[in-house]
Symmetry: C2
Subunit: 263 residues, 2 copies
DNA sequence: AAACAACATTGATATATATCAAATGACGTA
DNA sequence: TACGTCATTTGATATATATCAATGTTGTTT
């Protein structure tokens, strides 16, 4: 296995040493990525692997792929071949009706897996769009299945990822079916910072990667309502908002709005 | 493997012959169910198994379990051990908030699998409630995983089931986030008859197993709105409704309401 | 620096659905 | 059969959010 030493996302090059210790530089689309060296490993890959297994696990990932802001990683109707682990960047997934209405079904960040929708029919049924320049690990699903049969811990991991997505969607259904605008936005903000915090970012400050319209689409409300609700929270001193920048001043107040009982 | 010859759900007994051809009767909770003989096999188990594999596949199912109307198959917080394949009966799954609001996340019928929500945390995060007396195959998830590693076709089947659930929830999110009451109810009715038809029932007539309130909870509307929308469809000559009985007179009109573009 | 495009905010008004309320119907049980 | 309970229907009114419209902000292009 090659040792990955540095990546330069701007020049799209990767530097590494081979077995004979000589230097190479190549395009990331053509290199093999080593999960064993990846600092996101504990987010997208199972723990409890020994060093030898870890080498085998690297075989899951075929290549990396760079997706520029606004580009689709995959689209509705595309043939399904791979799952994608996000290394850097931020995505939205969305479905749309014949008459052009769009529903954002999720926002995904580093360490999260997208593409699961394609397994059932071998075709993707949603779109994955980069909301900022992104870099993903391409994991051909055939590899995932082959190695899952060999490594129970990987098999279990894949099952958990799919189950987690089902449970997440259950709670979005609860948001959409039962909650009012303020509750939806509070839940959304709390969920985002919680995930960002798990990745080493601030617990109280964040920069939104999506527009008010995309937030609204996800939460089943119009962009004006999203904006008004932000303003309401701001007037109440719960958050500080400046366009995409949000500072959560009173996390407990947000939690109370989302879930009045447990606070 | 014992040969299952008849079941009497009322007396909770099962009759079968053993290897020496002598008759036995026993409680279904204690017997081993044979997928190889089950007429729902093509709904909940993979196709393309040879006879030998089929025998092994029977090992997935440990027992059967009977659930009376109104009873929970599992509840939020229960330890997760098994998936359940519905043999007979009808279920709803639902999540609820601390303050008692309930969101129905799905309705499940014969041949469908429930319990996937429990995989990620080893605890169930929703409730599965029988809307009529039901009979399920208990499939300990450890068995499913063990046999999945051995049989790629079963592994693929499990992945497809989970992916299908993700895709289904995506389209429910579209319903809840973007559709109006009439569109939601039209989509709901079309989906129900389509699934019933796949099970040999009528394409145009159905008996609802759930209340107006449960339909409303699933579709994010109040029971009064569900009732009014039924009445509206009825006045328009699209359906005939008498309490739980629904006769779809103009399926194309329903499809047009749901999706004006493709009709 | 000016002009432009995309996004966000805010106000006025409309509307779909919720809420409240009453009557009716279905069903199990005493 | 009568009673009580639960589900459903229907009407009148309230309300949260959508819609329409104007203005402000930010960042980019010329």
């Amino acid at each position: 296995m090659l040792e990955l030493l540095s990546t330069n996302l701007d020049t799209k090059t990767v530097s590494f040493k081979d077995e004979s210790n000589s230097w190479h530089t190549m395009n990331p689309a053509t290199i093999k990525v080593a999960c064993s060296n990846c600092n996101l490993r504990e987010l997208c890959m199972p723990v409890g692997f020994n060093a030898d297994d870890m080498q085998r696990l690297d075989d899951v990932v075929a290549t990396r792929r760079r997706v520029r802001q606004g580009e689709h990683l995959f689209s509705n109707g595309d043939h399904f071949t791979s799952l994608y682990a996000i290394r850097t960047g931020f995505f939205k997934t969305c479905v749309s009706t014949e008459d052009g209405r769009e529903q954002v079904t999720g926002f995904q960040m580093a360490g999260e897996i997208i593409g699961l929708d394609g397994i059932v029919t071998d075709f993707h049924s949603c779109n994955a769009v980069a909301l900022e320049d992104a870099d993903v690990c391409v994991m051909p699903f055939a590899n995932v299945e082959d190695l899952s049969r060999e490594f129970p811990v990987l098999q279990r991991h894949v099952h958990k990822i799919m189950s987690r997505e089902i449970v997440r969607e259950n709670s979005v259904m609860m948001l959409l079916g039962n909650m009012r605008a303020e509750e939806r936005l509070a839940a959304f903000l709390l969920n985002l910072v919680q995930r960002l915090h798990a990745r080493g970012f601030s617990q109280s400050e964040l920069v939104l990667r999506m527009t008010r319209e995309e937030i609204g689409s996800y939460l089943g409300m119009k962009l004006e309502t999203v904006s008004r609700t932000f303003s309401k929270f701001s007037e109440d001193g719960i958050i500080e908002v400046k366009q995409r920048y949000v500072h959560i001043l009173k996390p407990d107040a947000l939690k109370k709005i989302f879930n009045p009982q447990t606070c």
